[in-house]
């Protein structure tokens, strides 16, 4: 099987101040990066991921750190699988807790349930945006949120 192209960000930030460290960490988390080792993160390469990591690299440099962007592929299929499996496992966990929340919300009073539905839909969109290797749990989360929407709609009739 041909290997996937990946984009890597290698970076180092001064330990202090902590504000840029936290900002960079939050951005990387939102992008759904795989952490290879400390200071080295990866995403499957596409037009969007390369650009997003480039902006983070600029932010690191502006904060007095060092950063470089590399395009690479894993030297072995096992290595690539480890990276992709790790990403899928952590996103699967997010889908699972979303599905649980949607299930719990079925028992909420109508107004509260409506608000929860809106929040969970937004959360599902956020998770999907950083899901590069959709695990089976993605479908479960979608069904759970749809189920909550159906219940909410039925209650309004």
């Amino acid at each position: 099987m041909p290997r996937l192209p990946w984009v890597f960000l290698a970076y180092r930030l001064p330990r202090e101040p902590s504000t840029p460290r936290i900002s960079v960490w939050r951005k990387l988390r939102r992008l759904g990066v795989a952490q290879v080792v400390d200071g080295l993160v990866a995403l499957p390469l596409d037009a969007r991921t390369k650009e997003q990591l480039e902006w983070v690299a600029d932010e690191v440099v502006e904060a007095g750190g060092e950063a470089s962007i590399w395009l690479a592929e894993a030297a072995s299929a096992a290595q690539e699988r480890a990276l992709a499996d790790g990403m899928a496992a952590s996103i699967a966990e997010e889908y699972r807790s979303l599905a649980v929340e949607a299930g719990t919300a079925l028992g909420e009073a109508r107004g509260q349930r409506n608000r929860t539905l809106g929040r969970l839909r937004r959360e599902l969109r956020r998770i999907r945006a950083r899901d590069f290797f959709p695990p089976p749990e993605a479908e479960g989360a979608r069904r759970a949120v749809d189920g909550l929407a159906d219940t909410t709609r039925a209650a309004m009739r």
């Binding site: 650009e51 600029d58 945006a129």
Partner: protein, 143 residues
């Protein structure tokens, strides 16, 4: 003047190009490059790594251009809210329009080359500007 940006324009680059032509340089000529090193010396680069008119702090390039050129039209800043969320989706602003704009721009980049993308999105941004201008005047979304 000549202006340079990266190939495969998405919403932030398309928005900047529209903004540059509208507010800064009506005769702007746009070049598309793969690498910052390919920017000719006489061209001003935007929405690329390491340039003045790029992302800075939490700002996308569209917001940076507004800042650097002192553009304080509230309608443009309202568009900046939408472009920022369409580009970054970091939920700094409430911009329900953004996911739609993001998808439209991504779709256009699959079927058009960069010069055509700028043409088509210019009309789109003109429309968006007019919509937001009327919304700000009315205090609600226009019909």
């Amino acid at each position: 003047m000549r202006w340079a940006t990266r190939r495969h324009c998405h919403v932030d680059r398309a928005g900047c190009a529209w903004l540059i032509r509208r507010q800064i340089d009506p005769d702007a000529e746009f070049l598309f490059v793969d690498d910052p090193d390919e920017v000719p010396p006489d061209a001003t680069a935007f929405d690329m790594r390491g340039v003045e008119l790029g992302h800075h702090g939490d700002h996308c390039s569209f917001e940076t251009v507004l800042h650097r050129y002192g553009l304080d039209d509230p309608v443009l800043w309202d568009l900046a809210r939408i472009v920022h969320e369409a580009d970054l989706a970091d939920e700094r602003y409430d911009a329900p329009e953004a996911p739609g704009l993001d998808v439209i721009c991504r779709g256009l980049s699959m079927v058009l080359d960069d010069p055509r993308i700028l043409e088509v999105t210019a009309a789109m941004f003109d429309g968006l500007y007019e919509h937001r201008r009327r919304a700000l005047l009315l205090g609600r979304d226009p019909a």
